[in-house]
Symmetry: C2
Amino acid sequence: MSQTNNLQLSGERFAAVYHLTATTEEAADRAWDICLEQTVEFPDDLISRPDIREQIIGRIASLEEVGPDCFEATIEFPVEVAGAELTQLLNVLFGNVSIKPGVRLVRFELPESLSSLYRGPRFGREGLRDLLQVHDRPLLSTAIKPMGLSPSELAELAYQFALGGIDLIKDDHGLADQCFVRFQERVERLSDAVNRANRETGLRCLYLPNITAPLDQLLDRARLARQAGAGGYLIAPGLAGWDAMRCVADDDRCGLPIMSHPAFLGAFTTSRSGGISHGALYGRIARLAGADATIFPNYGGRFAFSTDECRDIVAGCDASLGDIRPIFPAPAGGMKVQRVPELCDFYGKDTVLLIGGDLHRHGSDLVQSCRQFAESVRSNC
Amino acid sequence: MSQTNNLQLSGERFAAVYHLTATTEEAADRAWDICLEQTVEFPDDLISRPDIREQIIGRIASLEEVGPDCFEATIEFPVEVAGAELTQLLNVLFGNVSIKPGVRLVRFELPESLSSLYRGPRFGREGLRDLLQVHDRPLLSTAIKPMGLSPSELAELAYQFALGGIDLIKDDHGLADQCFVRFQERVERLSDAVNRANRETGLRCLYLPNITAPLDQLLDRARLARQAGAGGYLIAPGLAGWDAMRCVADDDRCGLPIMSHPAFLGAFTTSRSGGISHGALYGRIARLAGADATIFPNYGGRFAFSTDECRDIVAGCDASLGDIRPIFPAPAGGMKVQRVPELCDFYGKDTVLLIGGDLHRHGSDLVQSCRQFAESVRSNC
């Protein structure tokens, strides 16, 4: 390797915090390994250039034992290594170390020079409240399902939900562009139905079609939905890629609020000792990638997140992240209307409560079921 | 829910095989839960429409105990539910169940009506061999690194690797479009360097720049690279999304072979009881998404894949998948030239051997180190 010193980076760094499963003897080596693996990916002893050692390689800012065989390592990376691209920022945070056992990304902090490269959510919590003109309570949300209903049947459901006072009506995330439920027809019919209900109620319910799609169709679907009168978008970044969501959020021709769906992301949080923390994944990363609300499985539903993990997500939704706006946590997954008092108590008013199947369980009058949901929120939150 | 029976699907199904961590008492319920969760996502007792029950919901084709508290469930889903989109196919295979503990996707089989919707790798194993005119041995690969070298320094490395007989020279996956190593300059200089070496050697070494990028720049970078004379692409689908790779593979204006990089995918395989099997993730899914070679951490390197997991990937690289071509497994990650005999024995000739840092360890003459690598492969494989 040449001995020339050419690099002239700013010296500014961003911090990533990892939990390492390691003994006291191993911990420092494991932390140093991350410093190399996420930057030069080269044997330590073969890096002879002082500028690369000093300016490119990660730096251990702290290393502390935080539990039995668990160390918390704060690694600082040069801001220039992350470039101006979400794909590369995610790569530095967790690219190759994702494959190493016993490394968990628990959080990260970005200096203004890096966070300002990301617009984040176009609306955020306050922007979404302004759109809906709802400022004093949790937002009410439900999903259009089950798959197998025709677009006109789904539109009738959406109409009743909107009449009943739901704020955000999203497609079930399994509705894509199947032969029995075509995207364009669905978006047109459901947008019309919800906008018709809004004219009757005077409310501002938003319909969010699922635009998770092949990448060469994603922005077209987003623009088509806006033209058809949809009120927002549902995207599953685990399927489309985090940067796909960022593209939609940043594109002025799309310009509607985004709910992020957790499909295909589960593997990141199933292991306690690997993956990415709930707060970093569903909170900070979702915000960087432009979500205005982030759906995740509520504790005690049909998935298995704990109350602590849900609190971590709530914290990630408004933790300091430069000028990037706070967003709504949107607990979901087998939630029931009867749990509203408890959910209001746990999440407070800055949340989206997403109740799906259970709204169908209280008789055939969906409008009435939605009104009960709304009434319970109003009287408990 | 209306009682009309409207659906008229073909009845054709595709099969996904899961391993469930469950007791004998739980297993059938857990399998049935997947049938619902991945399709209607609706309470079983509320689905009154016979056509939805019969035509949309997944079906348990078999359920067998395969280990202590481990059941193998084969679930058959209607082909129409997966639509014609990789994003939705992945969603049906592993979307919401990714979030449930103790569910691992171990493999899947697609009927011709579904597999024929995917072109898969543009070249595949034989196509890549034809490009290189190398038919009788493993392919030799290395990476351009460390990050921090200038484009002209990296180009000098590439020139020496190509002179030394390397077949596939890829960017290190941390090289994106940073201020100290701009994409365009790097691609132009390295393509020139490798093509100059090829004119001297008469060989056909390919340079594969890393085009993992924001989605609105991905295809532009791929086309720019081709115009600059690059020989292929490196993409990390964990960062860009699986469908981003599929887009590049399918686009005739790109049209070069693709190596898939495992960055950010580690969480899918760190848990034995969750995630996706090595063979399904790095084999079948990578092929569906258009990879011609799939990089993964070799056993015994600085990551932690086992020999069985590596064999599973090799099997996934040429398991039957409609007309989708077999691809090259590309073991990597701390591999050493001295291990070539063992690697040849383990992987056979249909593999890409990717050795990075170790080529720099045998003196300053990189050309000579590459020739030793090549010679070892020729005499051992």
